[in-house]
Symmetry: C2
Subunit: 134 residues, 2 copies
DNA sequence: AACTAAAACTTAGCTAGTTAAATAATTTGT
DNA sequence: ACAAATTATTTAACTAGCTAAGTTTTAGTT
């Protein structure tokens, strides 16, 4: 991008996603798959629509990722009372492995922001939230 | 991601890239194509290796994007003295259109960071640069 | 009750990032 | 001078964003 700030933001995110994928490789997971697992875990169960709204991506992205995670045995899918919707939960195997992955991710993320003090983090968060179309 | 800061970073970048694509739609360009055009323009001419090292992506990404841009008439490709390398320049048509795209992008980027003061921008840049593996 | 609109999800097809492995040209080392 | 290593680029195959257009089910309107 022309603006150095926006350029840096894109660079850093690419770098982060690259490093996250390396961390998750031990579990045969990709960063986007982890995002889905993590938010489903925290909500206990979610419909596809809840997932894509939460993660701020489009519906087809989640359809695909959730199906892959189901095939790989990480997620269980069941029909809702409303027969249009699908309800997603972590499988028994996923629940068992989850704490270990979470731990690896915590270590990784703490390493990534180890140069940022508590105030730095707070500040960075506020500054990021200011990026927006008027 | 587990960490809210990293989560926010990913969200914001997705949002930015989405908005950049909307801005560039008038020119039938995608944000990554613009990144390539912009850096080639600023360097006058570049080899593929110079481009991917500058943009911090892998070689195959640039091979593909540059070829597409050549087919679309934005880039001219010629062989270098070293016959392994390819040298890339903006086409006459691209040079003609460039200022107008650049202008649209400047307006867009300024809108995006309009809530950030000069110091905010400086600070944000410094904080972003602190994100790194130790 | 029947027609229409909306919601949840899917399918297909595009760009763009990645890795792994291949090819061709140039450098290096002996 | 020749074999081996390195460098530049490419190809194929994977994940992951997106849009546009489809199906099925539910909700709303008349």
């Amino acid at each position: 991008m022309t603006n150095p700030l926006i350029h840096e933001l894109f660079q850093k995110t690419r770098y982060l996603s690259y490093e996250v994928n390396k961390t998750l490789k031990d579990y045969n997971l990709y960063s986007s798959q982890w995002s889905v697992l993590n938010c489903v875990y925290r909500h206990n169960e979610m419909t596809l629509t809840q997932i894509w709204k939460y993660l701020n991506v489009e519906a087809p992205t989640i359809t695909r990722t959730v199906n892959r995670l189901a095939v790989l045995g990480w997620l269980d899918i069941k029909a809702g009372k409303d027969r249009r919707e699908k309800i997603v939960r972590l499988s028994a195997k996923a629940l068992e492995t989850f704490p270990s992955i979470e731990n690896s991710m915590n270590i990784f993320e703490n390493e990534m922001i180890s140069d940022l003090s508590q105030e730095d983090q707070q500040l960075l968060m506020e500054l990021l939230k200011k990026i927006n179309k008027e």
